[in-house]
């Protein structure tokens, strides 16, 4: 295209010369044909300046994931400038904050009349070290667990709520346990359940279970267990641990049982 323009200008120049010579010829006898015009001297048009990326940097060059880096660039003689990695078209001079989640190479591409240029810069991204694990809980078990694991039932005779010798020993150990549990957990409470075997009437057994729970509570309080942490409930014969009709099962059901409160 450019060459065509030049050829055209030379032809025009030649034609003008020819017309002026012809005009002269009308007034004078025809001279010898002029020498052919010297070939027109075609001047080279000025060359556009080259596209030049003066600088393209990332500051800092390496970051931790979640941090940002600043891209900074300076470009000369370019008409179209863009950065990949979704940064897009940018001005000739500028900065842009980027938040790469992994190490990323950014390429700046510049295009102008004087050509193209590109330059890349890489931002190194490192994963931060995992946060330290939460502090391990103290190795103590919950009051409910301790109670379930260590507390023992106190057993009673038929239609009785007296604390037997074996029940005294059991409840004495239970009292120590309760004191330890309460010391470790100031909000912990315990329900003392009173139970009966299936032989008495449901109605009387409700009273008897209440009596057994109360008797066990009184015993524990005498041993220094704070009474405001102990509640009682009678289940009568509503919640047996076994249902066989023999003395062994009856005995297992005639009990005071410690369970965690609400």
């Amino acid at each position: 295209m450019r060459m065509n323009t030049r050829t055209l200008s030379a032809a025009v120049f030649a034609a003008v010369l020819l017309v002026s010579v012809a005009g002269c010829k009308k007034k004078a006898p025809a001279p010898a044909p002029p020498p052919p015009a010297p070939p027109p001297k075609v001047e080279e048009p000025p060359k556009p300046p080259a596209v030049r990326i003066d600088s393209f940097t990332a500051e800092p060059r390496s970051i931790e994931r979640g941090q940002s880096a600043t891209l900074r660039w300076s470009v000369a003689n370019a008409t179209d400038i863009s950065i990949d990695q979704n940064v897009g078209a940018v001005q000739a001079n500028g900065t842009r904050q980027v938040f790469p989640s992994d190490s990323t190479t950014y390429t700046l591409a510049a295009t102008g009349p004087g050509g193209t240029d590109s330059r890349s810069v890489t931002v190194d991204v490192s994963s931060p070290p995992p946060p330290p694990p939460p502090k391990a809980p103290p190795p103590k078990i919950s009051g409910a667990e301790m109670l379930g694991r260590e507390a023992q039932d106190a057993y009673f005779d038929y239609d009785k709520s007296d604390i037997r010798e074996d029940a005294r020993q059991v409840l004495t150990r239970d009292a120590d346990l309760l004191k330890r549990i309460f010391a470790g957990d100031p909000n912990f409470t315990v329900v003392i359940e009173g139970h009966c075997d299936e032989r008495g009437s449901a109605e009387y057994n409700l009273g008897l279970g209440d009596r057994r729970a109360t008797a066990a509570k009184d015993f524990l309080v005498q041993l220094g267990v704070p009474s405001d942490r102990l509640k009682t409930i009678s289940y009568g014969k509503e919640r047996p641990v076994c249902t066989e009709a023999n003395e062994e099962c009856y005995q297992r059901n005639r009990r005071a049982h410690l369970s965690p409160g609400q």
């Binding site: 109605e203 209440d210 009596r211 109360t214």
Partner: protein, 463 residues
């Protein structure tokens, strides 16, 4: 009552006045067992037209109502004559003809149904119930008569002649039969149980809830739905309220309900680890057992729980207060105050304490006969702990009569409103079920089948 009886039939007075006025354990038993019950013939009634379809239900209901009352001796149908009267005009007096041969007695010529068909052998009944049904104006009408067949003629024999109306279906037939039966029973000083309700505890849903049913086991309905343990029902004397003990809110507490609306009514439980075994008094108070000062004690409060007052004051377990329905002045209750679980009685003020059982075994579940004189309870006397049997006792005579034996664990006897029946629970297999019986231990009928059913309370219906 006595005047009415006299007017109605002299026989009934002779047989019943003593018993009706002074029903005691022995006499109730005697009334039922010693064959002194008036005899009655109840032939099958027939219905005209559409009424015929429901007559099986009618006849079955009428027979059962009368037979189960315990006050009548039913004459077997197989003895009845072929020509059964359906209305008074069917009776035709026999005529006398001269003897065929001289010297013989004059002949009696039978002209149709007559009173002596029923009073004489083989029926030998004192009374005859007869009649028929028809559909009239879209309603079932029963024309019912009760005759005293010992009388010389139909006019003087009539005790009842009455019309009863119901719907033309089995329900209507059942209703008119029950009404007719109730009128008949009233002539003998007995009360029909139709309309009465039995409250009880059933675990058939997986939780112990309060239920109710009709006196014959029909119409079983769940009244509570706490999905907890709710038990020990009580019903107010007028049938309008029921109460029970429940773990629905933690420790055992009493709740009071309207029987009509089945809605909870306010009742303020005392602060106690245990409030249980409610009982209504006729004057609107509620008796119960509450743990006070470390022991379950008998208490009384207003119907809403206010003004609670302790009645007993002893280091012993005391439960199951039951107020005398006749006097409203004395309470039966179970107490451990003499050791064991025994039956005691005291005045409403907590005075006049006396033990009613011997001290042997364990006693539970006292219940008053409506006469205020006879009581029922469960007792292990003579058996190992837990082997309860049903006993009744005249409270003046103090002679306990054992009604059940060798038939599992029998508990929770409760007198029917008629004073002749008892409902109770019995474990005769792997489950506990509810039964009724006459107060002599006969005519035992099972009412429940699903799950375990316990703690029946026989109450007046509300309708």
């Amino acid at each position: 009552m006595k005047t009415k009886l006299t007017a109605v039939c002299a026989v009934a007075v002779a047989l019943f006045s003593a018993g009706a006025l002074l029903l005691t354990g022995q006499e109730i038993r005697g009334t039922i067992t010693q064959g002194e019950r008036p005899s009655i013939a109840v032939p099958d009634f027939r219905g005209s037209g559409d009424a015929q379809r429901v007559m099986n239900t009618f006849n079955e209901t009428l027979w059962n109502e009368l037979a189960n009352s315990g006050v009548l001796s039913m004459r077997a149908k197989s003895m009845y004559p072929v020509d059964v009267p359906q209305q008074p005009s069917d009776f035709r007096p026999p005529t006398t003809s001269p003897p065929l041969r001289r010297g013989e007695a004059p002949r009696t010529v039978r002209n149709g149904p007559w009173l002596t068909d029923w009073s004489g052998p083989p029926v030998s009944a004192a009374y005859l119930a007869f009649g028929y049904t028809a559909v009239q104006g879209g309603r079932l009408v029963l024309f019912g008569w009760l005759y005293n067949v010992a009388q010389p003629d139909p006019a003087s024999a009539q005790v009842i002649g009455k019309l009863y109306f119901g719907s033309v279906d089995n329900e209507g037939a059942k209703n008119v039969a029950r009404e007719f039966a109730a009128d008949i029973l009233r002539q003998f000083g007995a009360q029909s149980l139709a309309g009465t309700k039995i409250y009880f505890v059933s675990d058939r849903t997986g939780y112990k809830e309060i239920w109710s049913m009709d006196y014959d086991g029909s119409n079983q309905q769940q009244l509570t739905n706490y999905k907890s343990t709710s038990s020990m029902p009580a019903v107010s004397p007028d049938g309008s309220l029921f109460a029970f003990t429940t773990y629905a809110q933690g420790n055992p507490k009493i709740m009071v309900y309207s029987a009509q609306t089945r809605k909870r009514l306010p009742f303020y439980n005392p602060v106690s680890s245990m409030v249980a075994t409610p009982e209504f008094t006729a004057d609107g108070h509620i008796l119960f057992s509450a743990a006070i000062d470390r022991w379950a004690q008998i208490c009384i409060a207003n119907g809403d729980g206010s003004q609670m007052r302790r009645i007993s004051n002893v280091h012993a377990i005391e439960v199951s207060p039951r107020v005398n329905p006749k006097t409203g002045r004395d309470i039966l209750f179970i107490s451990g105050r003499s050791g064991g679980q025994q039956l005691w009685r005291m005045a409403m003020e907590g005075t006049d304490l006396e033990r009613l059982t011997s001290g042997e075994g364990d006693v539970a579940n006292p219940s008053w006969n409506p006469n205020g004189q006879t009581i029922a309870f469960a007792w292990t006397r003579g058996y190992e702990p837990g082997n309860f049997n049903i006993f009744i006792m005249d409270i003046a005579k103090r002679e306990p009569i054992q009604l059940t034996q060798n038939s599992g664990r029998n508990e929770n006897p409760w007198w029917a409103p008629d004073g002749n029946h008892l409902v109770f629970s019995s474990k005769r297999g792997s489950t506990t079920q509810i039964y009724t019986m006459l107060a002599d231990g006969t005519n035992v009928q099972r009412l429940t089948t699903q799950g375990n059913n316990t703690q029946p309370v026989w109450a007046k219906g509300i309708n």
